[in-house]
Symmetry: C2
Subunit: 425 residues, 2 copies
């Protein structure tokens, strides 16, 4: 709850020349199991108020957080992101999620979460509405002319009049077009519907690490789907998750990983498995083998995590205790700075990744270690920047600046990157 | 759109030892008239992202902004305010409004705004839900004990299970109880329903200035209504609006006021009147007398502004041009620093005000002048602090810290003011 903690985190990432920080978010307390309350960090700041604070004390780093399209209104979301983009001079991003838990539904007047297909349909319409709202004011609509008393050119204001299946939003949005045109859109869908939504709309897609072959399959598939939507492969960055556990020697790194597993209270491990598998395992013995029948179609939770657990559990000799440990170890990348750089380089070169979402297994040391040990190794190999060369998150990520949908293609060249800056009211 | 502008504003107010800054907000573009687009500052940052940024670069000043209970969900609002309260170490406040414009409805899937009575009913339930959510975690619920792995004491987490007419919210809220217990609640209702809601729930109520007699009537009425809800008169501060126009001499102040009126584009003045009176005046001549039939019951706009205009227009010789000018001059307080201090002192002493919402007629000079000229005069008279003596907005305002509804009265004394500080995750 302490701002200083997050400021330190953001400054460390900025020192490491990261493209962005990213704050995951959920709209509920994971209280399905008592252990979730007792052992999980179940409280977290609302991320956009927090990112506002971080914007004020950082200069280059991107500012991203999760937003649910199922439990938000597009007008609020578009405005919040545009605000962060203005206050940070073009560093805002959102990670679109459709929410996976019934717990979230119950905080917003519903009994159960919406079905998977409906959530993704709603998400796509949500993105359309948000972008439509961001285009409300042309980039040069605000005149702020004290002499004439003209604040804006009324001919450069556009009313959306959106009437869709899920939303009716008149517009216009009451904030100028964001410096980035549209704030950067991240997504993490792994299901076919999720990949499709990302290919159609996202600037970058998060994914679990998996094997090199799996990463390559995902990478190629997302780029192919993007082409199907008339986009260039480079318009959608693929960013696998990387959970580094770093040691000066490989043995030190392995010892550190086992230490982290051992620190998990065992009841919490069991309840985590119950949650993801949607089976009550509380009466089971940790050391008995889990005879697990996987059917990915029955879960309304994250399909990718479910499939991953099912794959591990297909070895029938695995115990519950093993399953949790292997799930943990399976998600982390253990090694020396050189080994981690090797791992990343292999995926860059092999078209398995455009970048990585670095998710330290422990904070804040995991990030500090990565910045101090792995980043220099990547820089030595010319795989990573040594200084920021652009001012916006789109710039850092090598993404094009999107002109407004109201601007004709042949006049797009006259639109500069930050037309609204310097207009002080 | 520039963060520096707002930071400068907040720092000036903090230099002047103000209790709080306050950002008014609306959820639409005032585009009913073209002049509204051309001459009004129709764009504004989402206030809570902005207040997050300001929290990071200020230390004492309160951070308040408007939130509509008609177009928001209590879970989001409670979380956003709790976050700001944590990040600012107890300086967050909200100004509850029920929204007055159909334009806002149309950005959230409705054709028209809800009726006045329903809006206030919903607002009261909204406050109940928000406070219930803020009490989710007892003040000492978070243990953050690294040794044992215990994050929280599960017996100190409370689930709300709210089922009301307007909201169904299970809870708990996924953020610790705010340092202030409940962030400070401002309201501005002037109608009987508005006064009643304020008396029942608000920590402070904004009101228009009016005459001394009107201010005293309002002051006494709000305190009397508060008593009716079992509250102490001092639990609800009454804060009339003060729009100072300051000059070193009285003539200089008067000239400045006329200059400000003259700066209003005439078409904008006319359209403002059309908006508040809900009559299309666009075809009328500015200099013709307005034959105006007031019926405060027919308006769904702000009843207080409507009544005020009706009172001025009851003089049948008034022209539209006069009406706007008199509406402006009627709302401002013109004078030297001594005269403004006299005005404020008279209302302090006469039980017409516990404090003032200072709303400079022009920014940023109006605020700078007030801080440099009027504040020292008030300090000389011992009417205003010379240094901050507390760290929270509740402290500045002399409001008691509210214990959680789950804490029994007899154990309330053991609850300290900032029990969750220092718990660093």
């Amino acid at each position: 709850m302490d701002l200083n903690y997050y400021v330190e985190f953001a400054r460390t990432a900025e020192r490491g020349k990261f493209d962005t920080i990213f704050l995951a978010d959920e709209l509920y307390v994971w209280d399905r199991f008592t252990s979730g309350i007792e052992h999980s960090s179940n409280v977290r700041p609302e991320p956009f108020v927090l990112l506002g604070a971080i914007a004020a004390v950082t200069r280059h780093i991107g500012l991203a957080a999760t937003l649910s399209t199922t439990y938000n209104e597009p007008y609020h979301v578009a405005r919040k992101l545009a605000t962060l983009d203005h206050l940070s001079n073009g560093r805002a991003a959102w990670n679109l999620v459709t929410s996976a838990s019934d717990e979230e539904a119950r905080n917003f007047g519903r009994d159960r979460n919406l079905d998977h297909a409906i959530r993704y349909e709603r998400a796509r319409e949500f993105v359309d509405v948000a972008r439509g709202l961001w285009d409300s004011w042309d980039d040069d609509a605000l005149l702020c002319d004290k002499q004439s008393g003209y604040f804006a050119d009324a001919s450069k204001l556009h009313t959306l009049y959106h009437q869709g299946k899920h939303f009716t939003v008149r517009g216009p949005l009451n904030i100028a077009r964001p410096p980035q045109g549209y704030p950067v859109l991240f997504q993490a869908g792994a299901s076919p519907a999720g990949r499709d939504l990302a290919a159609a709309t996202a600037d970058a897609v998060f994914t679990i690490a998996g094997s090199l072959a799996q990463a390559q399959e995902f990478y190629a598939d997302v780029k192919r789907r993007a082409r199907g939507y008339g986009r260039e492969p480079n318009d959608v960055k693929v960013l696998p998750m990387l959970v580094p556990v770093i040691g000066v020697t490989e043995q030190q790194a392995r010892d550190h990983a086992e230490e982290l597993v051992a620190l998990t209270p065992q009841r919490l491990a069991l309840d985590h498995l119950s949650h993801y598998l949607e089976i009550d395992l509380s009466a089971r013995d940790l050391d008995e083998p889990l005879d697990f029948q996987a059917d990915v179609n029955v879960t309304n939770q994250s399909k990718s995590i479910y499939a991953r657990l099912a794959a591990i559990a297909s070895d029938r000799s695995v115990t519950l205790r093993d399953l949790y440990r292997r799930m943990f170890l399976d998600r982390v990348q253990i090694g020396t700075p050189e080994q981690l750089a090797d791992y990343m380089q292999e995926r860059f070169d092999g078209e398995g990744a455009d970048g990585f979402v670095v998710f330290p297994a422990a904070m804040p040391d995991g990030l500090t270690d990565f910045v101090d040990l792995v980043v220099p190794e990547l820089q030595k190999r010319a795989l990573f920047r040594t200084e920021y060369t652009t001012d916006t998150l789109r710039g850092h990520l090598g993404l094009a600046w999107p002109p407004s949908s109201y601007v004709k293609a042949d006049s797009a060249r006259i639109v500069s990157a930050h037309p609204t800056r310097g207009c002080l009211m």
